[in-house]
């Protein structure tokens, strides 16, 4: 694959694919013990299979308490969720890959949500998602 300005072209077949990315590097903090939204990325997608690469970093201002984070598509499909103990204010990075087989054209929401455990202040930053349309 050769990538130019987010468009990838297969040199043998000339098939093209698209790379779409959304990110918010800034910090969100919450004292909510139920999930609240930290960042929403809403790309317009074709009917296709997409490779989803994601990353986010979590911590809690009080190392005695845990923190939870998740990444959801359209508020229904959870593609990443974790609850972790942390050292005070030291960030714990979470990343991974997911294949999203999109059957509905149009806008889809990728939400980074987070919450604290029984105390402290939950923090999330470096919310990143990269979608690569798979050429089949």
């Amino acid at each position: 694959m050769v990538e130019t300005d987010g468009i990838q072209t297969d040199p043998k077949t000339s098939a093209t694919t698209t790379v779409i990315q959304g990110s918010e590097e800034t910090e969100d903090t919450t004292t909510s013990a139920t999930y609240v939204e930290a960042y929403r990325f809403s790309p317009t997608l074709d009917v296709a299979k997409y490779k989803v690469d994601f990353y986010y970093a979590l911590t809690n201002s009080n190392g005695s308490y845990n923190v939870s984070g998740r990444l959801q598509i359209d508020d229904t499909t959870t593609i990443s969720e974790t609850t972790t103990d942390v050292f005070t204010d030291l960030y714990h990075g979470i990343g991974g890959t997911y294949f999203f087989n999109n059957t509905t054209p149009g806008t889809h929401n990728f939400d980074f949500d987070f919450q604290r455990g029984a105390g402290g202040t939950a923090k999330i930053r470096s919310k990143r998602v990269i979608l690569t349309k798979v050429v089949e």
Partner: protein, 66 residues
């Protein structure tokens, strides 16, 4: 729920807001959570119901100090 928003460019101490509400003379101390968005420079303080004018004035002071 009732959400009260404030402009905050620097990270506020969210737990201090909780403690401030609990220790204040507010009639309604039913704070649910605080949420600060650094990118938007926005602080949200969420209560289970709407505050009276006097409670809102006390909350404004607590947020200002945090």
């Amino acid at each position: 729920m009732a959400t009260y928003t404030y402009t905050k460019t620097a990270e506020p101490n969210l737990e201090a807001i909780h403690d401030g509400v609990a220790g204040s003379e507010m009639m309604d101390k039913s704070i649910l959570y605080c949420h600060w968005d650094e990118g938007a420079e926005l602080l949200e303080v969420v209560f289970s119901g709407s505050l009276s004018d006097s409670d809102k004035a006390i909350l404004d002071g607590i947020v200002e100090a945090s």
